[in-house]
């Protein structure tokens, strides 16, 4: 089933004197359960595409449907709730709220969803154990390594059992061991948590782990390859 449909997406930034076309005429369809990498050099439009899919930005023109919903029709507050319930985000770095512990960062989402205390604690502990940080639950982000922080971010992204995980260059600031570990973790979560993963990268080791690779160049899709 197609859970993300983008049709002729175009994004032009008009903030400076010269308008910047970040995306032009992008068509994408992503099915449930995919583990897909958006690849391309810096400035090719990866973040813009992920932000539009995640409802963090609007396209200048074109159609975008996520989880069967035309998200361009949602108000800001509806969009926030939509994100909270359906999408988990992992960003490049500084994902976590610095004043909260690892566990509190995970429960933060569940608090926003007004889950019960027991449910929150159980889910946070389960996820942190899954990402291998059962013993670092009460540490603040600055007491964790970059790789550990990204693992907490993955746990947080999964906390609300979202349908999608959008990860924008999640390994950009990690060494190769941490990169490999994080990717293995993401693949595992993709299987066990049944979430669709879309992540951007320009790291060949990450690309190798993806099951589908969409390559962007200058805001256009250059290739779309599904590995067997």
């Amino acid at each position: 089933m197609k859970v993300i449909k983008a049709n002729q997406l175009t994004k032009v930034y008009n903030e400076s004197k010269i308008p910047v076309t970040a995306l032009s005429g992008v068509d994408i369809e992503i099915s449930e359960g995919e583990f897909t990498a958006i690849v391309g050099p810096s400035g090719s439009g990866k973040s813009t595409l992920l932000n539009i899919i995640g409802g963090l930005d609007n396209p200048t023109s074109g159609y975008i449907e996520v989880g069967g919903l035309d998200i361009s029709t949602l108000s800001e507050n509806q969009l926030i709730d939509f994100r909270m319930n359906n999408i988990g985000f992992v960003f490049q770095s500084y994902n976590l709220i610095p004043v909260l512990t690892a566990k509190e960062n995970v429960t933060f989402i569940l608090l926003l969803q007004k889950k019960s205390k027991q449910e929150m604690n159980a889910r946070a502990e389960e996820l942190l154990n899954k990402v291998g940080l059962g013993d670092r639950m009460n540490n603040r982000p600055n007491e964790l390594s970059g790789g550990q922080q990204q693992r907490v971010a993955v746990a947080r992204a999964l906390a609300s059992k979202p349908k999608f995980i959008l990860a924008d260059e999640p390994t950009a600031n990690l060494d190769s061991v941490s990169t490999a570990n994080l990717l293995d973790l993401m693949a595992e979560m993709n299987a066990t948590e049944k979430a669709t993963f879309v992540f951007s990268t320009h790291d060949q080791r990450v690309i190798d782990k993806a099951r589908r690779v969409i390559t962007l160049e200058d805001g256009k899709i250059k290739s779309d390859e599904i590995k067997s």
């Binding site: 973040s47 932000n51 995640g54 963090l56 930005d57 800001e76 507050n77 926030i80 709730d81 994100r83 909270m84 319930n85 988990g88 985000f89 960003f91 500084y94 994902n95 709220i97 610095p98 004043v99 909260l100 933060f108 989402i109 608090l111 926003l112 969803q113 947080r156 992204a157 609300s160």
Partner: protein, 405 residues
């Protein structure tokens, strides 16, 4: 949860938070301290002049205050004095005859203020006996005077010397008399110290040819703030075609004016202080928002509503403001209490400077609770207004820009 976030965020940058708290605390402290000194000096001035000279309120014959002559004196009548004394909140009422005279001794002459008094009532009213620095206090049937210490030194006379007084009496009669100086009184305000002469009431009436007449009945009210109430009450009880009743604000317009002027001066000082502090607070709030835009973006991306974020940040700013305000009060309170009981006395050059302005060389303090509530709320209001900036910044935050870092 929001509170936990806000509280921890405040202590993220401990040094900045402490500096801001200290700046707010200093503003509250300094403005409270200044205001306390101001109000203290007003209370003292009112006390010195009203409490120890004019009384908080006076009854005169209608027209006397505009034209302070004996022609506007009135018949002393027991009923009248009784009515005044019985009036609620009136603690003491003393009959007086007040006029001017030229006072001389040997080669020196000086215009002076003559007050005919009932020695006992006057002592209750103004604690005159306690002002005695030499000689003895007056008795009702004495034919002697008490004079200001400053006047005595100007005339180069001492207790036991004889003072010659010349004046014009009731209906223009000539008034002249010789009186032995029975005692010297010292007043903090130079104006009084340098020209006052006290005579027993009956002697003064005889001197001015105004048998059984008074120019005023001065009274002390239990609390300064009740003065207007007493004045209104007496106005309804006495015949206002014959008498005029005035409170100290009407009796001492120059005092009221100088207090008002000084008050405005203090207000301007405080506004300047507040403005300076406000810029400091604003700077902190500005940094708090700008360095956290990325974080705000992330929080909103993962599902936090804009208004929730605003609540958290508003709590942070208000917590800082309240902490600073409480600190300011905690520091100033003991200090003000100390100085209230131990006012600063100036000596030497400063004392001379104060006295040359006709002021007493002392810096008293007030403990009026309004000082703290007033300064505290002012600073809190300023901080709350400044706290609107972070709210506005969050309102305008665009997630896609914020998370691009």
């Amino acid at each position: 949860m929001y509170f936990k976030l806000a509280w921890r965020n405040i202590w993220r940058n401990k040094r900045r938070t402490w500096i801001t708290v200290a700046a707010i605390g200093f503003a509250v402290f300094f403005s409270s301290f200044m205001k306390s000194a101001q109000l203290g000096s007003y209370e003292r001035m009112i006390d010195n002049v009203a409490r120890f000279f004019t009384g908080y309120a006076q009854v005169h014959a209608l027209g006397y205050w505009d034209d302070k002559t004996l022609d506007f004196s009135f018949e002393a009548n027991e009923d009248l004095i009784h009515t005044v004394r019985k009036s609620a909140h009136v603690e003491v009422a003393a009959p007086r005859i007040e006029s001017f005279a030229l006072a001389s001794f040997v080669n020196q002459t000086k215009g002076s203020l003559v007050l005919g008094i009932d020695p006992e009532a006057e002592n209750q009213l103004t604690k005159l006996k306690s002002k005695l620095v030499a000689g003895d206090y007056l008795e009702a049937d004495d034919k002697a005077v008490l004079i200001g210490e400053g006047l005595a030194s100007y005339l180069k006379m001492d207790v036991g010397d004889t003072l010659v007084m010349i004046s014009t009496g009731f209906h223009g009669v000539n008034a002249a008399g010789k009186y032995v100086v029975k005692g010297l009184v010292k007043f903090p305000t130079p104006d009084m110290n340098n020209q006052i002469i006290y005579l027993p009431l009956r002697e003064a009436q005889w001197f001015y040819g105004a048998e059984n007449r008074l120019t005023n009945i001065a009274m002390i009210v239990d609390q300064v703030d009740n003065t207007n109430m007493v004045v209104d009450k007496l106005k309804s009880e006495l015949d206002t075609e014959i008498y005029e009743i005035m409170g100290w604000e009407e009796l001492l317009p120059e005092l009221v004016e100088s207090i008002e002027l000084d008050y405005v001066g203090g207000l301007i000082m405080r506004y300047i202080l507040y403005t300076v502090i406000a810029f400091g607070i604003f700077g902190t709030f500005l940094m708090m928002v700008n360095e956290r835009k990325y974080e705000f973006g992330i929080m909103m991306a993962v599902g936090m509503h804009r208004y929730s974020l605003q609540i958290v940040v508003f709590m942070e700013t208000i917590l800082i403001a309240i902490t600073g305000t409480i600190m300011g009060i905690l520091v100033s309170l003991p200090l003000i209490v100390y100085f209230y009981f131990n006012p600063i006395y100036f000596t030497g050059e400063y004392a001379t400077m104060f006295e040359s302005y006709g002021m007493e060389p002392i810096m008293p303090f007030s403990m009026d609770s309004e000082i703290f509530t007033g300064q505290g709320t002012a600073v809190l209001i300023i901080a709350s207004i400044l706290a609107l900036y972070p709210l506005f910044a969050i309102f305008r935050l665009k997630i896609n820009q914020a998370i691009r870092g």
